[in-house]
C-alpha cells in the first residue's frame, strides 16, 4: 500500500525526550518535561483540548489513547497534517495551535461524522446529560448534520445481560472498554471486531455478554463515554414494588455507596451522606431501611470462623487443609475465578457475600419477625456494583424461584430515584437506620475499600484466636492503593501472611503466583474494581481520577474511626442473631443460609 510518511525524527530530537523543552501553545510559551504529550502540555498551560477517546485511567495505571477519534487534533507548525494532541509528544521549539480555524473546521467536521453514525435518541438515552459525545456536540455548537441520501448507520443487535446493556449503535470506537476489559481486568470478554464502517467492540462471535467470560465488574460501563454500555435499570420495578400495598419493601445499602452518592448531588468526593441517604430512602417509601454493613459483620463471623478453623487445622499439622483462604464477597471476582481457576474452587471461603447474607436473613429471620410471607417481602439492595445484579439472580440464592435479594440498584440508579422523587437531597436531615439489621460496626464499613475486608477479618480472627483484646484496631499495613500488597500480622507469635489485590488483572497475577508456588499466604482479599467497591462499576463515574477514589476510601476509614464498635463480633445485633436464630458460626443453619458453593464455568476444550 502506498503511504505518505512524516519525516523520521533524528537521534537528536529523540534525545530531547529526556530534557526539559520549551514550546508555544496558542501563543503562550510553556516549559514541559521531556515525554509530555501536547495534550498534557496544553493542560498545564490552562488549555483543555476537547477529546473523546483519550482517557488517562490514573487509578488503573494506564492510558487509553488509540488516537482514533481525531477530536483532539491540533495544528503543529511545519507538519503537513493535523496531529492528535493525546498521542503527540512535545518537541523543543514546537509551535502549536489548538483552535485555529483549520483545527476548528476539522474538529467540527469529524464530530459531525461521528454524529452521522449515531442514534439521535438523546432525549431518552440513559446517558443523556452525562454523555461525553453530547457534551462535545454542545461545546462545538453542532447545529446540523449534513444529511447524505440513504446514509448508512452501523447497527448491531442489542445485548441485555443481567447487569449490563450493550447498545453498540452508540459505540464511537474509543476502545476504552476494550482496554479496561483486557489490559486492566484481563477478563478478555471484549475485543474490537469487524473492520471499517462496521468495526465495533464485542464479545467473541458477537455472543451475549452472559455467554462470554464477562464478570459483570462494570468497569467498561464506568469508562464508556456514550450510552453504548449502561447498567440494567431496575428503578421502575422498584417503584412498582413500593406502590404495591401487598408488599413489604426493605432496602439495604452497601458501605461504598455512602461515600460516593453525594457526588451525584454536587458534593465533593468523599462526602459521607449516610444519614441523608437513609432519610431519602425512607422518603421514597421503603418500609425498612437497613445496612449491608450489618451483613458485612455477619460475613466476618462466618468467614473469620472459617479462616480460624483452617488455621487451627494447619497448626495441628493437617497437610490437606486449603490455604490461603480467599475472600468471596466480590461477585465479579467469584465469576472470574469460576471461569479462570476451576482447579481452585475449594480455596475461596464458602461464605456468601454480605448482600446475599442480608437477603437470606431478611427472607427468613426478618420475614418471620415481621409476620410477612417470603414472597411478599421485597428486598432491594443499593450497591456500588453491577455484578451484584447478576449475583442476586444466581440460582443458589433463590428459594422456590424467589430470590433472597429481589433488586440490586447501583449508586447511580439510587441517585436517579432520588431525583425522580423530587427530593432535595442536600438539605435532608440525617436519619438512622432501622433496627435490627441496621446496626453495624466499623469493621463492616471498611468492606467498601480494598484491604477492608481482610482488616475486618483480622480484627475478629486475631481476637478470637489469641483470646486477647487487640491493642490497636487499625491495621495500617493492610491499607493502601498498590494493586498487589502483602503484609504479615502477628497472631500471638504465629505470623499470618496476607495478600491483597484489587482489579482483576492484579488478582490474576497473584493467583498465578500462588499456582506457581511463588507466594505462600494464609489469607487473601480480592476486589475486582480499582480501590475496591468505592471504585465499583455502579458508582458515580470516576473516569480514572485517583483523587476521587482516594477521597471515598478516606471517608470510609473516617466512618470506621467514628463508630463506637469497631469489631464485627462485638455487634450486639449479630450476637443476638446467633443466639436467637443461627446458633453459632458455621452451624448447620448458618451453612444452609450463609454459605454457598462454586461452579466450574471455564471454557471446555476436551469433550
Amino acid at each position: 500500500m502506498a503511504t505518505v510518511k512524516n519525516p523520521i525524527p533524528t537521534n537528536q530530537n529523540l534525545q530531547s525526550a529526556i530534557n526539559n523543552m520549551k514550546l508555544t501553545i496558542d501563543n503562550k510559551p510553556i516549559d514541559v518535561a521531556g515525554g509530555t504529550t501536547v495534550y498534557e502540555a496544553a493542560k498545564q498551560a490552562g488549555i483543555i483540548i476537547p477529546r473523546l477517546c483519550y482517557l488517562n485511567l490514573e487509578t488503573l495505571g494506564i492510558e487509553n489513547k488509540p488516537a482514533g477519534c481525531r477530536i483532539c487534533v491540533v495544528e503543529i507548525e511545519g507538519r503537513r497534517n493535523l496531529a492528535p494532541s493525546c498521542a503527540t509528544l512535545c518537541a523543543d521549539g514546537m509551535i502549536v495551535k489548538t483552535s485555529s480555524p483549520r483545527v476548528l473546521n476539522a474538529r467540527k467536521t469529524v464530530l459531525e461524522l461521528l454524529l452521522s453514525d449515531h442514534p439521535k435518541d438523546c432525549l431518552i438515552c440513559p446517558k443523556s446529560g452525562r454523555c461525553e459525545l453530547q457534551n462535545l456536540a454542545v461545546c462545538l455548537g453542532i447545529r446540523e448534520i449534513h444529511a447524505v441520501e440513504n446514509a448508512e448507520v452501523s447497527t448491531y443487535r442489542k445485548d441485555h445481560s443481567p447487569s449490563i446493556i450493550r447498545d453498540m449503535d452508540k459505540c464511537v470506537m474509543c476502545r476504552r472498554c476494550e482496554t479496561v476489559c483486557n489490559t486492566v481486568q484481563t477478563v478478555g470478554a471484549l475485543s474490537a471486531v469487524n473492520r471499517g464502517f462496521m468495526a465495533v467492540v464485542a464479545p467473541a462471535f458477537e455472543q451475549d455478554l452472559q455467554d462470554s467470560p464477562c464478570t459483570f465488574c462494570g468497569q467498561c460501563v464506568a469508562v464508556c463515554p456514550t450510552g453504548a454500555l449502561t447498567e440494567v435499570d431496575h428503578t421502575s420495578r422498584v417503584i412498582r414494588a413500593l406502590a404495591d400495598p401487598t408488599k413489604t419493601v426493605v432496602v439495604q445499602t452497601a458501605p461504598a455507596v455512602r461515600a460516593a452518592l453525594g457526588e451525584e448531588f454536587g458534593m465533593a468526593p468523599g462526602t459521607l451522606v449516610t444519614g441523608k441517604m437513609v432519610a431519602a430512602l425512607r422518603q421514597i417509601g421503603f418500609d425498612y431501611v437497613f445496612d449491608t454493613d450489618f451483613a458485612a459483620d455477619l460475613t466476618i463471623m462466618e468467614e473469620g470462623a472459617e479462616l480460624l478453623a483452617r488455621l487451627r487445622r494447619m497448626l495441628e499439622g493437617d497437610r490437606k487443609v486449603k490455604l490461603p483462604i480467599l475472600t468471596s464477597c466480590c461477585p465479579a471476582w467469584v465469576n472470574f475465578f469460576e471461569q479462570n481457576y476451576p482447579d481452585m474452587l475449594d480455596v475461596p471461603s464458602t461464605a456468601r457475600s454480605p448482600q446475599q447474607m442480608f437477603g437470606a436473613i431478611a427472607k427468613t429471620f426478618l420475614a418471620d419477625r415481621l409476620g410477612v410471607r417470603r414472597d411478599n417481602l421485597v428486598v432491594v439492595s443499593i450497591m456500588p456494583c453491577l455484578a451484584k445484579k447478576y449475583e442476586c439472580r444466581r440460582n443458589e440464592f433463590k428459594v422456590d424461584g424467589n430470590p433472597d435479594v429481589d433488586f440490586a440498584l447501583s449508586t447511580r440508579e439510587l441517585a436517579h430515584l432520588i431525583k425522580e422523587a423530587n427530593i432535595r437531597f442536600n438539605t435532608l436531615p440525617d436519619e438512622d437506620f432501622d433496627a435490627p439489621m441496621g446496626e453495624s460496626t466499623g469493621a463492616g464499613v471498611i468492606f467498601g475499600t480494598t484491604g477492608g475486608v481482610i482488616e475486618a477479618a483480622t480484627r475478629t480472627a486475631c481476637e478470637l484466636f489469641t483470646g486477647r483484646q487487640l491493642e490497636r484496631v487499625d491495621f495500617q499495613e493492610l491499607r493502601g492503593m498498590e494493586g498487589i500488597r502483602t503484609a504479615s500480622v502477628d497472631f500471638n507469635g504465629t505470623p499470618i501472611h496476607i495478600g491483597i489485590a484489587h482489579q482483576l488483572g492484579n488478582a490474576r497475577k497473584l493467583l498465578d503466583g500462588i499456582r506457581a508456588g511463588m507466594y505462600h499466604f494464609h489469607a487473601i482479599e480480592i476486589m475486582a474494581c480499582p480501590g475496591g467497591c468505592v471504585g465499583g462499576g455502579g458508582q458515580p463515574l470516576h473516569l480514572g481520577n485517583a483523587d476521587v477514589i482516594r477521597a471515598r476510601r478516606q471517608a470510609l476509614y473516617r466512618e470506621d474511626a467514628q463508630k463506637p464498635l469497631r469489631k464485627s463480633h462485638e455487634n450486639p445485633c449479630i450476637q443476638q442473631l446467633y443466639s436467637e436464630f443461627l446458633d453459632h458460626p458455621l452451624s448447620e443453619k448458618a451453612h444452609r443460609l450463609l454459605h454457598t458453593r462454586y461452579f466450574d464455568r471455564s471454557v471446555k476444550i476436551e469433550r
Binding site: A2, T3, I8, T88, V148, A151, R195, G196, F197
Partner: protein, 597 residues
Amino acid sequence: MAIYKIHLLVCGGTGCRASESAAVVESLRASLTAAGLSDEAQVVATGCFGFCEQGPIVKVMPDNTFYTGVTPADAAEIVAEHVLKGRQVARLLYTDPQHKTPVSDAKQMGFYRKQLRVALRNCGFIDPENIDEYIARDGYAALATVLSDYSPRAAIDVVKRSGLRGRGGGGFPTGLKWEIACGRQADRKYVVCNADEGDPGAFMDRSILEGDPHSILEAMMICGYCIGADRGLIYIRAEYPLAIHRLEVAIGQARACGLLGADIMGTGFDFDIELRYGAGAFVCGEETALIRSMEGRRGEPTVKPPYPAESGYRGQPTNVNNVETFANIPVIFLKGADWFAGIGSERSKGTKVFALAGKINNVGLIEVPMGITLREVIFEIGGGIKDGKRFKAVQTGGPSGGCLTEKHLDTPIDFDTLLAAGSMMGSGGMIVMDEDDCMVSIAKFYLEFTVDESCGKCAPCRIGNKRLYEVLRKITLGHGTADDLEYMRNLSTVIKDTALCGLGQTSPNPVLSTLDNFRSEYEAHIFDHKCPAGQCKALKHYFILPEKCTGCTACARSCAVNAIVGERRQAHSIIQNKCIRCGACIEKCKFEAIQVN
C-alpha cells in the same frame, strides 16, 4: 545456461500460467524429446516478461525471438521449425499495431524499446527456482563484496549516494532509513520486506518475487548487515501462492548453499529469513499495521512516532522496505552508486516499475527510468489506447493516487512531479482510461475500495470515507445537488488532514483529483442528469424513434418489466419510470429505432 545451444524461455508468471503456460512448457519438452533435441535445447520456465497482454510468451535465445500467444499445440511447430531448422514461426510473432508488421526481436518492439530493466533485470531471463542461474548472473556477488569490503556505515553510504527512494509509495530515502535503524541500540533488530502489494491493478512486486526471488533475499541480507539485524521477515499476501512457493524454494536453496543461516560466507555474519502471510487487509501495507499483523494482531496502524526504526516488530528496531526497493540494492553495489544516480531525474534516481493496465493496447509490466513522460509510457510503450478510442485519464498511485489528464501527458514522472500534479507514485499501478470511463464512477470505485479496506480505527476514515462514497453514489444515481461538491471538497480535505494513517490520509485523492480535473463531468451528472461517458445506468434514458419503429413488438416482448407499450404495427414507446435501463430492447431492435442518451 552452459551446455545448451538454444534456450526456450517460457513465461511462468501468474498471468501467463493462467493462460496455461505450464502446459506449453510440457509440450515443448515433449516435442524436443520426440525430435531427439533434449541435449541441444533447454526449456526454462522464467519469471514474468512483462508483456502480459500477449501471453503466454516464449522467447527463443540466443536470437531473442519473441513469440506471443503460444498454445501447447504450437510447441511442435516451434521445435520443428525454429529449433531444428532455424526458421522463425512467423504466425506467432508479435505484430506491431502501428506499422502492422511482424517484429521478431524483442528489443525492437515498442513495448521494450524505451524500457530499462534494473529491478526486473533477471525476470524473464533465469529460472527463478534455480539458485545457480541467479549466481551465474552475479547473484550474491554484491553480498560477498559488502560483507568483505564494506563496513556497515560505508555500505549505507553507498545506498545514500545512489539516491534510492522507497518504491512502496512514500519515496522516503532508503539510505537514510537504514542509517536511522543502524543508529539504534537494541538486543535484536529486524529487516522486514513489505510484500503486501495491495493496490488493485499493481503487480510489480509479485513479478519480482516470482521471477527473481533471490535478489530480495540478497538485498535483505545486505540491509541486515548494514543495520545490525540477524532476522529477516517477508510479509507476503496469501493471494500470491506462486510467489510464496518461489520464495520458499529460494530460501531453502540459499540455506542449503550456506548463503542464509549462521556465519555466511565465513564472515561471521548470521542472517535468516522467515515468511509471514497476510490475510486480506490492504491497510497492512502501511508499515505500522504490517508490523501489528506480523505479531498476530488486527492490522490497525498506530501513531508515528514511534517509527518502526525505534520500536517495530516485537518492540525492536525494525527496517521495513518494499520488494522493488530491495530489488535495486544488489545492482547498486555491483554497478556503483554513481551509475544508479546517473539514471532518472533530479530528485528521483533510478527506474520505476509500473503495471500498465486498463484501456491500453499493451497491458503489462514495464520498467522505465524516472523522468520519462506519461505520453512515452502510454503511447509508445503502452501502444496507445485500445480500439482507437480517445485517451481520457490515467490513474496512478492506486486508491491513494489521483487521475491525471491530457495536460499532464508531458510531465516527467517522478515522486515529486506526480505529487505536485495531485496524484502520487504509489507502488506503481497505472490504469489508463478512455472516453467511455465515467470519472465520477471511477472515484466511486476507489472510495468503495477504501471503505472496504478501512480498518475502522479512526473516525475520519471509518465514517468520512463512507459518507464520501455515499455522496458519489448519490451523484451517479442522478440525485446530486449543488452543495454536494462543496461538501465533498471540505470532507476530503478534513479526512486528509486528520486521518491516522497513510491509507486514510490519501483516500480522498481520487475524489479531489477528479473534482479538479473533471469538474464538468460532476456538473453534468448533477445539473443535466447526464453521464457524459454513458456509464451511469441510472442516468441513461432509452427512447424509441417513432419514425423508425415498425411496431414489430420484438422490444416489448424482450422487456422484463413491461416498460414498452404500443399496438402491433404502431410506433411503440417506453414508460420511463418503469424502465430499468437494462438495454435488452436495444439488442432486439433490428431497425435502430431505440436510442439511448
